[in-house]
Amino acid sequence: MVLRLNRNPGILSPILNNFVTLFFLFCNIKGLILQRKKLRNFREQEFMDKKIKQKIAFGFFRALSLLVVGILFWILGFIIYNGIGVISWEFLTTAPTDGMTAGGIFPAIVGTFCLIAGSIVFAFPVGLMSGIYISEYAGNGWIIKFIRIMTNNLGSIPSIVFGLFGMALFVNTFGFGDSIIAGSLTLGLLILPLIIRTTEEALKAIPGSYRTGSLALGASRLQTVTRVVLPVAFPNIMTGLILAVGRVSGETAPILFTVAAYFLPKLPSGIFDQVMALPYHLYVIATSGTDIEASRPIAYGTALVLIIIVLLMNLLATVLRRYFGKRVKIN
């Protein structure tokens, strides 16, 4: 079970053991080297000591970073190993049946894509324009400091709070009901700070000489932004979008009360319909399904599909980024 995975000490312990052994090994090596060193003269000693310390330190850092990658691969491998068996064309293209213990996850896949598209359509333009305003136009007055602090605060609000807020505002006050639009707007709010900040950072990284060069030719500030600054910054802004897509496709809490359906085998026909979504579906069949043991393989399959979607999105964004990067240079 994916949720239990982090709590299981049995799986983590071999790696932790290795890690501890590795550390003692380093200490031993250092001890040996210290003994041998006494035979040499002082200056060389000092020099060697520095070099060895550095080697040990970087060896340690390398081991740590490899450990992180190792854990990532291990999680991936675990999910692929358990989930690959249920993946089939049918699994991807049919609705769940038999109380979600059989059938596929097609409605949840469609729902997740709807939510990705909806939240990006809302959050990307707003975030892009806010980022441009903050970085290029607003200067450094108190208003801008206030906006910046507030966007950062917005980014650190727990996602469940966004879910409740979305329910209060979009579902109830605006009367959208549990719907794609309510869920998309809620997710959009959640990723807005991320998009604003990456846009701002991407623009800040562009050298000021481009701007002065453009302004000195009689271009307005808006022309300078749209024709010189933005094309150069665009690949990095795309990175922000990639992160946002990853976040949207995996979030469960914000969609809990705003859009996600427990079980809805038909596809949405408009933006005011409810949908199923992959992360919520995973949560449901892992914790509150009709028969948790029977739907376990489907849970792994769902997790695998979710991960693959995120990876594919990243790949697509990287390709786009490369393309834009090239175009910017030549044109």
Binding site: Y210, T212, G213, S214, L215, L217, R227, V228, I330, N331
Partner: protein, 248 residues
Amino acid sequence: MIETKNINFYYGNFHALKNISMQMETHTVTAFIGPSGCGKSTFLRLFNRMNDLIANTRLTGECLIDGKNIYEKSIQVDELRKKVGMVFQKPNPFPKSIFENVAYGLRVNGVSKQSFIARRVEESLRAAALWEEVKDKLKKSAFELSGGQQQRLCIARALAISPSILLMDEPASALDPISTSKIEELIYLLKKEYTIVIVTHNMQQAARISDKTGFFMLGELVEFNDTKKMFLNPEKEQTQNYITGRFG
């Protein structure tokens, strides 16, 4: 003609330019020399209002171009900058093709006719003595050019929108001697059609290319005179000391 009357300029509390009045004639090259931080670049940037971009600055006095005060409310800064082109210390081509770099000024000023743009790009590149070197690779990125070529591209870019005045802020200080001499030759040629104001750290350069020279120190215009007189027989002792290298 450029004329300033009692210009005072402040960065916050720092009094950067003190009571400067001078006149620059049409179709001449005027050079500003002086030690670093003396205010010569600040003074240069007044003429196309680039100092407007710096927060917390203040200006008093008048700056007239062809008899009009360019700091009056009715003046459109975009229009002013079309008339007063600028070349910066470090070559700063845009990350676009060579052609698009030169066409940029035309495009942002509303020119959309392709044939006109193409003709103007060629004229500007010829005027900047760069055409022969780049005519076969106009579509290539401007970053493929050498530093000296990039600077001439920036000059062509400034010329494309037909300014009457060209401001140059140490245009050769980042370049090698050969590129520098090319830029200097170019300035000599451009003088026929443009009024050129150049800031330079290099006194030989000022002596070689300018008709008149202004010597700045600590925000004051110490001496403003014909270049020949300035370098052979300056009126002020401070000028003499600076030129002969006794300080600075």
